[in-house]
């Protein structure tokens, strides 16, 4: 008689409270409500309250995290309809320069420059990238990679809009509370709007385009127009981040098109989990403070982002957010087999 060794397998069960709280009809107690509400409310509350606690330097970190978060969110939005961008810095830089030039040459205040940069950024991005929409995803990625570089070199060689020196002494925000709550507010609004939109019909069509664009085409939908719209939105969001930072630093220069602004959001999204919006947001909130803490390493940080990016893509494609979500909703135990 052969001996059968006892083996164990992991068994995952939904928590009881998830089963009860999952449908709106079944919320029976405050505990259920809290279970659902807490993960959503906690980050919001944290982000709104922390600025009051921190002072100075760490507030800057929060602002920077929110901006990278916006870039990561816009990346995820594009990825939701199948557009894979390696050049978020393009959106960032366009918005930055629109706001910067308006502020420098016309002395307009942020109240005017930022909305115009948002619109302008969206229009410019959509216009620049829409010709490439008909090509395979790889080519889109390549063009987004090249564009920021192209702009950087053009600014350097033509010397327009400040050239290599950039534009400085721009109008700042009235006070730092406005700045930080504008940043946090924009970030949170964007996060929740995107998360909502992707589950509505509009987002459904976008996701369908990513999954099978031919099927969507045969359903009488112009996929290129939809993708252009997505580009507009992403450009607008990224443009906001760029415009904001321009006024925050009171300076805009070629560096707004730098690789950092492309890689950091990408690493954040990969780390947090693409496709969920909450993932990229979470990723940014982890990576940016981390990179600030490691400031001493200087240029090594980009290498670090790349490591994290590679690791996330290879080893943890679903991202941290899914992992945490799973842990929250399920518990595991070992069960004996045989």
């Amino acid at each position: 008689m052969a001996e059968v060794e006892a083996r164990y397998r992991k068994k995952r069960l939904d928590r009881g409270i998830k089963a009860r709280a999952d449908t709106i009809f079944a919320i029976a107690s405050y505990r259920d409500i809290l279970y659902l509400l807490l993960p959503r409310a906690l980050p919001v509350i944290l982000l709104l309250v922390l600025p009051l606690l921190f002072k100075g330097y760490w507030n800057k970190v929060i602002i920077y995290s929110c901006m990278i978060g916006l870039l990561a969110l816009s990346w995820d939005f594009l990825a939701s309809c199948g557009l894979f961008s390696l050049g978020q810095s393009l959106f960032f830089g366009l918005g930055a320069y629109v706001a910067g030039t308006l502020s420098y040459y016309f002395h307009w205040s942020p109240i005017f420059t930022i909305p115009i940069a948002v619109l302008g950024g969206g229009l410019l991005s959509a216009g620049l990238l829409s010709p490439v929409l008909r090509l395979r995803g790889v080519y889109f990625a390549m063009v987004t990679l090249m564009m920021p570089l192209l702009f950087m070199k053009m600014i350097e060689t033509t010397g327009l809009v400040g050239g290599s020196h950039g534009l400085s002494s721009l109008t700042p925000f009235p006070n730092e509370w406005v700045a930080i709550y504008l940043a946090v507010g924009a970030f949170l609004v964007c996060l929740f709007v995107f998360r909502r939109a992707i589950n509505e019909d509009y987002g459904l069509v976008l996701r369908a385009i990513r999954d099978d664009d031919r099927a969507v085409m045969s359903a009488a939908i112009n996929i290129y127009w939809r993708k252009t719209q997505a580009l507009f939105v992403a450009g607008a969001v990224g443009g906001f981040a760029g415009a904001f930072m321009t006024h925050h630093y009171q300076f805009v220069g070629m560096s707004v098109f730098a690789l950092d602004y492309s890689i950091l959001p990408l690493a954040a999204s990969a780390l947090g989990g693409p496709g969920t919006f909450a993932g990229p947001a979470l990723g940014s909130m982890i990576l940016v403070p981390l990179s600030e803490a490691l400031r001493a390493l200087g240029g090594l940080r980009i290498a670090l982002y790349c490591f994290i990016l590679i690791l996330s893509v290879i080893a943890l494609p679903e991202g941290i957010f899914h992992y945490i979500e799973r842990k929250y909703h399920q518990f595991e135990r070992l069960v004996r087999v045989g």
Binding site: R214, A219, I221
Partner: protein, 241 residues
Amino acid sequence: MKHFGGVQAVHDVSFSLRRGEFLGIIGPNGSGKTTLVNLITGFVRPDSGKIIYRGKNITGKKPYTIAGLGIVRTFQMVRLFYNLPAYKNLIIPLSSSRVKKLRGGKYGERDDVAVDLLDDMGFERDSFVPYKLAGSLPHGYLKRLDLARAMALRPDLLILDELFSGMAMSEVASTLPLIEKFHEEGLTIIMIEHRLKELFRVVDRVMVLNFGEKIAGGSPQEVMSTEAVKKAYLGIEVEIG
């Protein structure tokens, strides 16, 4: 009135179709039937030839434009979104501008319209079939979902590419009357099929393709008694009763 004349690599097919007609297209595998559909619906560009629909030349237009004009197709290899519930699959066509124009559908009603449509197609609303993930449905349901997707666009010309392939007899028996009903309501239909018995019961006329060429056309009886067709099918006898 729809004209099509095309010469492509191996093809030389010309035919025309009247509004409200029911045309069947048959032929051995690889005879170019699906390519023909791809050409008509804009997924493939013809090297030469024209496609004229209601007097307008639609050759070379984009698939979504052609679908927007009312020419809708199903796919031989079903193209659905398997990770969405069945009724959500219909949201996509219902979001198109064509449907917006025709139905004037307001935002928020689409879910209901979708479920109603599926109910008409035989997805029992009460047993929650429309709400199941498309990936969990059996093949026959998937084919009907594809049909529902096409009908959601309120087509003027419906092209069915081997709808019945892989369906059980009972499923065919329940779907065929649906198609007949559409035809009676005035829909122009082109149907590519291998199941000749069922096809011949509903079509007005038949076109036979082989090796990318049209080898016969006419009523089912005429076509099946043509030598070329008999040769192509190698001795299959079909009773037209």
